[in-house]
Amino acid sequence: MPELTYRDALNEALREEMERDENVFILGEDVGFYQGSYKVSRGLLSEFGAERVKDTPIAEEVIIGSAIGAAMGGLRPVAELMTVNFSLLAMDQIINHAAKIHYMFNGQIKVPLVIRTPQGSGKQLGAQHSQQFETYFVHCPGLIVIAPATPADAKGLLKTAIRDDNPIVFLENQNLYGMKGEVPGHDFTLPIGKATVFKEGQDVTLIAYSNSLYIAQQAASELNKKGISAEIIDLRTLQPLDMETILASVEKTHRVVIVSEAWKTGNIAAEIAMRIQEAGFDLLDAPIQRVTAKDVPMPYNKHLEQAALPHAADVVDTVMAMA
């Protein structure tokens, strides 16, 4: 199986889907001539032409709004927002339009739209460029939210997202673009709404997604040295949540720590914890714990920034403190 970076796996998914269906096109700031600010759309302009790889002005509201309109008109747009931080400028179109049109008009119109955008922190980019917004999106019915952690998942889920008839927020991670991994070939797709057991274990379940998967992975390896066997679940899809996979793991381990790089308050960890206790309170041997970023606008200074973010050591400490 070929090894690809997360970036190139996404690129391959875009290329394959554009080859498969001529109604698939991409638009966004610097996706064409510049080849993508993170080079995810590299080579696509020369391969597919300017009609299907459309550079836009820096105008997020009309990037997303025109993508929704194009989807209403029967196309399958993949819109790139350069970073998730800019998605707030398009929030009216995402929440009030994309997520509503299908339901509000009684199913008459589909909005097959993928919004690709990277989030992530830890690169000293300051308060306005070091954010995670999955909570905003998962809160809104009508949207699907996907956050892949591996190159294979990035490809398989992006292909499925492009084929899906719903508006999808596809959260990439700017810290993962260079990560390499084995990626299956042409017809590889992965289902929406399915988590995966990334590592099997017996004693505690670590629930993670996107970059927090690697925090959990590092923690699991530290815990292993202490004789604790951690199971890791990679959520992959954040809306809808795969509670079946989560509960099956809780049934085995009876302990849960949720790891997320987003702010603590309102973190998706709270939703997962609530759902576990609604459906599986009796499965738990200890209160559910969460390891998240601190509730603070991200400072530029490296030491302060690292102190604001969750680390494997925090996960280890949390697990060790559980009864």
Partner: protein, 342 residues
Amino acid sequence: MKLETQLTTTELLNLYQKMLLIREFEEKAAQMYTQGKISGFTHLYIGQEAVAVGAISAILDHDYVITAYREHGQALAKGCDPKEIMAELFGKATGVSGGRGGSMHLCDIEHRFMGGFAIVAGQLPLAVGLGLSITYKKENDVVLCLFGDGAVNEGAFHESLNLAKLWDLPVIFLCENNQYAMGTAVSRATSLTNIAQHACSYEIPSHRVNGMDVLAVRETVEHAVRYARAGHGPSLIEALTYRYRGHSMADPLKYRAAQEEEIWQERDPIPNLAQKLIEQNITTQQAMDQIQQEVTQILESAVAFAEESPEPPLDSLMTRIYEPFSNQNPAPPPKKSLLNPQ
């Protein structure tokens, strides 16, 4: 003033009938609102009929209309069934949007009426996208995008005009300047009160037209439609008009001068057209009475239909939030476009 038009008597009477239908539909809606049959925000189109009727008469059935929340009249002008519109206002399952949308969210895909949207200027970016879908598929349709004077101050207006021109999309941006954004007069909200002139910033041709004259609106929109179909791109039209009622049924209308209202009442597009049609012997009073009777009948049956229609079932609440996920039908073939199943 003589009617200068190439239209046939039938075409002229159709325009008159549509305007009268809208006027009386709205009066009926107001009555039903007062009786508690219609709830929520209800924005009446009374006074602005010539804009929707003139503009929509200048496009084809296959062209798109997308608009804001004062859209009952525009939906009627596009050919949507008055019964289904009234049923939607009543929140019934038989409404155009199944009772899920209400007054502000009428949608009828069969008539390419792509929706009423209730976030000011939110529909303009969508219109750009519909326009893009047309050029992408190398079709020859146009998008008629209606909005009010309040939308001009939103960022979405400027982003949309810019991109529509940048990509030369077939979108007619039609601003219905009814002089007030809710209770705020245009001069109190917009630095450049000649809204048509905003088009200069984007190198888009613009027209300012008397929105109380159905034939003038029609002619202006026809021009913009020809321009768009020829591939030259978008236009901005400002139609000067007036709503005779408040912003919504909840508005007591205390911010306008009586004298101003009188001036605009004299410009009422419906009696003015009727008078000209009779005076110039284009039609007879008898034919006009006949139209009036038809309209009354249409509205009586619309109300009866809405009254008798069922509520949407409670078990429909959580349905159609999403389309079935694609992984339930793995590896689908390329989809035919939604609106052109061939």
